[in-house]
């Protein structure tokens, strides 16, 4: 993930990896369409769709009006009747406008209809802070959707997974919500060629360790890896788990790790209270792994405020590498 790549391996950025996945899907499956605001000639607000419209045309790469609720609903209706839409929200924040279609319709219709339909819908949400775009363009709302049965929710942290999870989402008959971190779009990493899938519902152990389990999501995985490297100097051997999927959560991988290390830190960018780390923590605290815990379960989540504009304040509002370092030292040394 961090410069793990060998010279002979092809590298792509996270955005390019997503684009490649969409290109493969558009090429292989005529029922796939892309929908979203300014994803055509503009190439998407973050240039993720890029020039796909030139190759696949405006019928397959559809610019929608600025109508998030309606657009999401059109995607739901299309998914119910033979298409496989990949719907891009321009910023994840705007999903607040479409919660009704995502939650009351897409997530529930299969259940409400007793299983007679499926909704093969993929939604992409550029998420997170760090771009100086302030409170209405920087949220992490994966916890909302993670709370909703009927949805699957993933947060790729690497270019490889970004492609693999998107292709897996397209093979999934149910709605899959993909939270992509905007800061990761430009990150490069090895991405295998062609079609492959990364399993939805499986966490990845990014670093083996025995002293403390750091369970992180999205961009925080990289901060956790940096912290783990530095912790080595302290003689602390951290295990870093990339959660990858918020729903369904990979209980086994997390619990096994905690049984081994006896200590856990959850690191996530969303607001701490009722964020993803609350579930990770509670899942461990109610399991048999509880008996292996030697210390409280630490959560490092976003500050209890909207994301501020000032760049230094913006950093102060989400967990940073030194916070992880400090927490790991504390929890290992019994200081909490």
């Amino acid at each position: 993930m961090n410069a793990h790549s060998k010279p002979d391996l092809r590298e792509l950025s996270y955005a390019e990896a997503i684009r490649e996945a969409m290109d493969i899907a558009l090429t292989n499956d005529p029922s796939v369409i892309l929908m979203g605001e300014d994803i055509g000639v503009y190439g998407g607000a973050f240039q993720v769709t890029g020039d796909l419209v030139d190759k696949h045309g405006t019928d397959r790469v559809m610019d929608t009006p600025i109508s998030e609720l309606g657009g999401a609903g059109v995607a739901v209706g299309a998914a119910l009747t033979g298409l496989k839409p990949i719907f891009e929200f321009q910023f994840s924040d705007f999903a607040a406008l479409a919660m009704e279609q995502i939650v009351n319709q897409a997530a529930k219709v299969r259940y409400m209809l007793g299983g007679s339909v499926s909704v093969p819908l993929v939604m992409r949400f550029p998420a997170g802070s760090g771009t100086g775009a302030a409170a209405q363009h920087s949220q992490s709302i994966e916890a909302w959707l993670g709370h909703v049965p009927g949805l699957k929710v993933v947060q790729p942290s690497t270019p490889e997974d970004a492609k693999g999870l998107l292709l897996a989402a397209l093979e999934d008959p149910d709605p899959v919500m993909i939270f992509e971190h905007k800061i990761l779009y430009k990150m490069k990493g090895h991405v295998p060629e062609g079609h492959y899938t990364t399993p939805i519902g499986k966490a990845a152990i990014r670093r083996d360790g025995k002293d403390v389990s750091i369970v992180a999501t999205s961009l925080m995985v990289h901060k956790a890896m940096q912290a783990a490297e530095q912790l080595e100097a302290d003689g602390i051997d951290a295990e870093v788990i990339d959660l990858r999927t918020v729903r369904p959560m990979d209980r086994d991988t997390v619990l096994s790790s905690v049984r081994k290390t006896g200590r856990m830190i959850c690191v996530y960018e969303g607001v701490k209270t009722l964020g993803v780390g609350a579930e990770i923590s509670a899942m461990v605290a109610e399991s048999d792994a509880f008996d292996y815990l030697d210390a409280p379960i630490i959560r490092l989540g976003g500050a209890e405020c909207p994301i501020p504009y000032n760049p230094e304040l913006e950093k102060a509002a989400v967990p940073q590498m030194p916070d992880i370092l400090a927490a790991a030292r504390d929890v290992v040394k019994g200081r909490v």
Binding site: G70, G71, V76, T81, P173
Partner: protein, 338 residues
């Protein structure tokens, strides 16, 4: 789909549809009425829980608006959707079983009155969210256009729903993309207790069609022939690739909005006036006037409908209850459930 008799002095429905189709339509109107009366009765007797929204008085709108549709065509429906289901060919037994919360119901007892659907017949389902079906209908029309199926989608919604943002976004997209969808507004004067005068800045919902550059027409929604004439033209327009239309059927629900309604927002006189415009006898008269049925035929059709409903209630009563350990079944599609 409409047949073709060319005598333009005849009412549209008589020209457009065979006697068989017209008798079937009358029967469906009775079925909707009897289904809802049966549901109401079951509710009163404590056999059904939850709530229900009866469309008694609106049968010409629901049945008339679905005449031109095949099983490939789609509909999206509303909380007041029993008529739409029947129009789209639903099995009354499975509807009743769903009401009774049975495994043999359309939704295996998971959905109830507000979620009856029959995707195999192109019925994408009722919806508990006012306006929820509008963008979904546009999506179905998008599929039809992209996949070239030739299918048309009829999207039912109420006068109250026309003030939801989803209405605006859906109609705009349908128009911009010229999609094969017909928006059928069943204007029964009230969204729950709120009259269109108090909720809606225009007099007729169809006036709003101009904001989407699509044809909009208001018709007597209790006149079966007027409804079919307007909707069929819109369906044909959609089928020909000319884009969406808005049809407004003016009608009235005789019953309260739902079981909690005290009817304080309208007068007895108004209700009585509209009960005097019952669409079912009007349809029977139309068919009798044109020698398509006799009075005896009508009685026989009504009796047949009664029997179907009685059988449906029996079927529903006999149905099995869902298994309690299957409460989380069908949240995800099996191959993918984690």
């Amino acid at each position: 789909m409409p047949d073709t008799i060319q005598d333009t002095n005849l009412p549209y429905a008589i020209r457009a549809y065979s006697p068989e189709r017209l008798r079937e339509a009358l029967k469906k109107m009775y079925l909707v009425r009897k289904f809802e009366e049966g549901a109401e009765d079951s509710y009163m007797r404590g056999l059904i829980h939850g709530t229900m929204h009866l469309s008694i008085g609106q049968e010409a709108s629901s049945i008339g608006s679905t005449m031109a549709l095949t099983d490939e065509d789609k509909i999206t429906s509303t909380h007041r959707g029993h008529g739409h289901c029947v129009g789209k060919g639903a099995d009354l037994s499975k509807m009743f079983a769903e009401f009774f919360g049975k495994e043999s119901g359309y939704c295996r007892g998971r959905g109830g009155s507000m979620h009856i659907a029959d995707p195999s017949k192109g019925n994408l389902g009722a919806n508990g969210i006012v306006g929820g079906g509008l963008p979904i209908a546009v999506g179905a029309a998008l599929s039809a256009k992209r996949l070239g199926t030739g299918a048309v989608t009829v999207c039912f919604f109420g006068d109250g729903a026309n003030n939801e943002g989803a209405f605006h976004e859906a109609l705009n997209m349908a128009a911009v993309w010229k999609l094969p969808v017909v928006f059928v507004c069943e204007n029964n004067k009230y969204g729950m207790s709120t009259s269109t005068e108090r909720s809606t800045a225009v007099k007729n919902i169809a006036e709003r069609a101009a904001a989407y550059n699509m044809p909009g027409v208001t018709v007597d929604g209790n006149d079966f022939s007027a409804v079919t004439e307007a909707v069929d033209a819109a369906v044909e327009r959609a089928r020909n690739g000319e884009g969406p239309s808005l049809v407004e059927n003016l009608t009235y629900r005789w019953r309260g909005h739902s079981k909690s309604d005290r009817n304080r927002y309208r007068t007895k006189e108004e209700i009585n006036e509209w009960m005097g415009r019952d669409p079912i006898p009007a349809m029977a008269k139309l068919l009798m006037d044109h020698q398509i049925v006799t009075e005896d035929d009508v009685a026989a059709i009504e009796a047949e409908a009664n029997q179907i409903i009685a059988d449906a209630i029996e079927f529903a009563t006999q149905g099995e209850d869902p298994k309690m350990d299957e409460v989380t079944r069908d949240v995800y599609t099996p191959e993918s459930a984690a």
